[in-house]
C-alpha cells in the first residue's frame, strides 16, 4: 500500500485534515493496514457462503449437554 493512498483516504474519503502527526504515521500504517486486510481476506475465503453478516448479536444460553 502506498502512503499517498492513505493520504487521499484521509482527505478525500474521510473528510479529515492530514496534520503533521498523522503524516508521520502513514509509512507504518501503509505496512500494517495492508497486512491486516490481507489477513481478513485470507480468513474470509474460509467462510461458508450462507453466513450472513452479523452487525449486532445477542448470545443465547445453550441447553445443557449432560
Amino acid at each position: 500500500m502506498e502512503v499517498k493512498t492513505l493520504h487521499c483516504m484521509t482527505s478525500e474519503l474521510n473528510g479529515r485534515s492530514v496534520n503533521p502527526a498523522l503524516e508521520s504515521y502513514l509509512p507504518r500504517y501503509a505496512v500494517e493496514v495492508a497486512g491486516l486486510l490481507a489477513a481478513a481476506r485470507a480468513v474470509a475465503e474460509k467462510f461458508p457462503p450462507e453466513l450472513a453478516p452479523a452487525s449486532a448479536f445477542v448470545l443465547k444460553p445453550e441447553p445443557p449437554t449432560k
Binding site: 492513505l6 483516504m9 484521509t10 474521510n14 479529515r16 485534515s17 496534520n19 502527526a21 498523522l22 504515521y25 500504517y29 500494517e32 493496514v33 491486516l36 486486510l37 489477513a39 481478513a40 481476506r41 485470507a42 480468513v43 474470509a44 474460509k46 467462510f47 461458508p48 453466513l51 450472513a52 453478516p53 452479523a54 452487525s55 449486532a56 448479536f57 445477542v58 448470545l59 443465547k60 444460553p61 445453550e62 449437554t65
Partner: protein
C-alpha cells in the same frame, strides 16, 4: 489484620451483624488510599466526602434493621470509564479531564441500590485502549507486587486497588483482555461475563460490540457476589441480553469442589513455544490438579485462531468511529501511542469490518460445536508475568516486540471478547520473584455459574495462593 485484607465474603456477615460499621470500614479504606496512592497511583479521583456520607447512611440503615444484602456498606472503586453523576469521568484522558456526567452508569446505579459505597475512580489506560496502564496524563499505575512493574491494563487501577487493599472490589471493562490481564498481573480475580450479561449503559465505549463490563475482586466468591448485583437485562443498552441473572454465590458450596467428570478443553496450539517458562510451569500444575481430581483434559484444535488479528479490525473500526471527531479537533490531546492506534482505524474499509463480523459469527458457531464436547476451556491468561514500567520490548516467541503497539499481552485473552463467552482469570502461582501468574476458565454462553464454580473449586484447593499478600501489607 486489617479489615481491608478481608474479602466481601467475610466482611458482609460482620456488617450484617453490626460487628463492623460501614463508616469504620470506609474510613479505613480512605486511609488506606492515602497511604498507598503515593506508591501505586491506582486512582484518578478519590471521593472522600460522598463515600463518608454514603457510609453514614448505610450505618443508619443497618442499625435500623434495613440491611440490603451482601454489598451493603462495602467500599468499592470503579474504572474511570463508568459515568458517575456529578463526579468527573476522565476515561484516563486529557480530553475528558473536566467531563462531569449528569447520569450514573447502569452498573454504578445497581451497586448503589445494593448499598455498595464508591470510594474512587480508578486509573486506566487512556480510553481503555492499551494493556500496560502506562497513562500519559495521570501517570503509570504501579503493580502492588513490584512497584517498578506495570499492572497490565486497561483496568490496571482497578486490579491494583484490590491487590493493594485500597478497595474491596472494583469494576472494570474488557475489550481484548482489560479485566483479565491486570487481574493476572496483580494477583486478583477478574471476571469478564458473557457479552450482554452486564449493562454497559453509561460506560465510555472503546468498541461497543466487543466491550464487556465486569468485576475485579479478591476472591471467586466475591466475583460471584458482585456479578449477582451487576447482571441483568437493561433496555437502555442495545447490547444487553434479556437473560435473567441469578445469585451466583449459591452454587459456591461443597458440591462445587468436586471436579470429577468435568471435561476441560485446552488448546496448546495457541501458546506452545510462546509462554515464559514460569507461566508454562504454573499452568501445567493447574492441569495436573484438574486431572488428579478426576477431570478429563481434552486437547482441541481451534480452526479460527486468525480471530486474534481479524478481531482487531472490529475494535479499530469502532474505536475510530467513536473518536473521529476528537481526533480531528484536538488530536494532540491524546497520548501518542493511543493516537497512533486510533487513527489507523480510518483506513479500514467497510468490507474488512463486515468480514471480521462474519468471522466472529462463524467463530461463535465453532465454539458452540466445541462446547458440545467440553464443559470449560482453560488457558494461561497472559504469556508472561508483569514486566518493568517503560520496558521497550518483551519477548513474543522469537520476536522482541513493543507491548504498547503489539497485542502480545492480549494474545490469549482477546478470544474471549471475540466470541463473547464468559471467562474468569484467577491466580495460580507466583514467579521466583514473587510476581503473580494467572490462568483463565472460559464457559458456555451465560454459564457464569459453572465458570465460577470451577474457579471456586481450584481456588479452595489452593488457598495459600489466595492468602498471599503483596509487599504493601508489610
Amino acid at each position: 489484620m486489617s479489615l481491608l485484607q478481608k474479602p466481601v465474603e467475610e466482611l458482609a456477615p460482620l456488617i450484617k451483624t453490626k460487628q463492623v460499621s460501614p463508616l469504620e470500614l470506609v474510613r479505613e479504606c480512605l486511609d488506606r488510599i492515602k497511604k498507598t496512592e503515593p506508591l501505586v497511583n491506582a486512582y484518578i479521583s478519590v471521593l472522600d466526602e460522598s463515600a463518608l456520607t454514603a457510609a453514614r447512611q448505610a450505618e443508619q440503615e443497618i442499625l435500623q434493621g434495613r440491611y440490603r444484602g451482601l454489598l451493603h456498606g462495602i467500599p468499592y472503586s470503579a474504572k474511570d470509564l463508568y459515568f458517575t453523576k456529578g463526579i468527573r469521568t476522565t476515561a484516563g484522558s486529557a480530553i475528558l479531564a473536566e467531563h462531569i456526567p449528569t447520569q450514573n452508569a447502569a452498573a454504578i446505579d445497581r451497586l448503589a441500590v445494593a448499598g455498595a459505597i464508591l470510594v474512587g475512580k480508578n486509573n486506566l489506560h487512556e480510553f481503555a485502549y492499551g494493556t500496560t496502564n502506562e497513562n500519559d496524563h495521570y501517570g503509570p499505575c504501579r503493580n502492588p507486587w513490584d512497584l517498578n512493574r506495570v499492572t497490565g491494563g486497561s483496568s490496571g487501577g482497578s486490579a491494583a486497588s484490590v491487590a493493594a487493599g485500597s478497595s474491596t472490589f472494583s469494576i472494570g471493562t474488557d475489550t481484548g483482555g482489560s479485566i483479565r490481564i491486570p487481574a493476572s498481573f496483580c494477583g486478583v480475580v477478574g471476571l469478564k461475563p458473557t457479552y450482554g450479561r452486564v449493562s454497559k449503559r453509561g460506560v465510555i465505549p472503546l468498541s461497543w460490540s466487543m466491550d464487556h463490563a465486569g468485576p475485579l475482586t479478591k476472591t471467586v466468591w466475591d466475583a460471584a457476589a458482585a456479578l449477582t448485583t451487576l447482571a441483568g437485562y437493561d433496555p437502555g443498552d442495545p447490547g444487553s441480553a434479556d437473560v435473567p441473572g441469578e445469585d451466583y454465590t449459591t452454587g459456591l458450596n461443597e458440591a462445587a469442589l468436586d471436579v470429577k467428570g468435568l471435561v476441560v478443553g485446552i488448546c496448546p496450539q495457541y501458546y506452545n513455544g510462546l509462554l515464559q517458562p514460569t507461566v508454562a510451569q504454573a499452568f501445567a500444575k493447574v492441569l495436573d490438579w484438574f486431572e488428579a481430581g478426576g477431570a478429563v483434559i481434552r486437547e482441541l484444535k481451534h480452526p479460527t485462531r486468525d480471530a486474534f488479528s481479524v478481531g482487531s479490525i472490529i475494535t479499530m473500526s469502532e474505536a475510530y468511529t467513536y473518536h473521529e471527531k476528537h481526533l480531528e479537533q484536538c488530536g494532540e490531546k491524546y497520548g501518542p501511542s493511543i493516537r497512533y492506534r486510533l487513527e489507523k482505524g480510518q483506513y479500514l474499509p467497510a468490507s474488512a469490518y463486515i468480514k471480521a463480523l462474519r468471522l466472529r459469527q462463524q467463530d461463535r458457531q465453532i465454539w458452540a460445536e466445541i462446547y458440545r464436547g467440553i464443559d470449560v476451556f482453560l488457558s494461561p491468561t497472559v504469556i508472561m508475568p508483569a514486566f518493568p514500567i517503560g520496558e521497550q520490548t518483551v519477548q513474543f516467541g522469537p520476536d522482541a516486540v513493543d507491548p504498547r503497539t503489539n497485542p502480545v499481552l492480549m494474545y490469549l485473552t482477546s478470544l474471549g471478547d471475540f466470541n463473547g463467552l464468559p471467562v474468569i482469570s484467577l491466580p495460580c502461582g507466583f514467579t521466583d520473584d514473587g510476581l503473580p501468574i494467572g490462568f483463565q476458565i472460559q464457559g458456555k454462553p451465560f454459564a457464569e455459574a459453572q465458570v465460577l464454580q470451577t474457579a471456586y473449586a481450584y481456588e479452595q484447593a489452593h488457598l495459600a495462593i489466595r492468602e498471599r499478600k503483596c509487599g504493601l501489607w508489610k
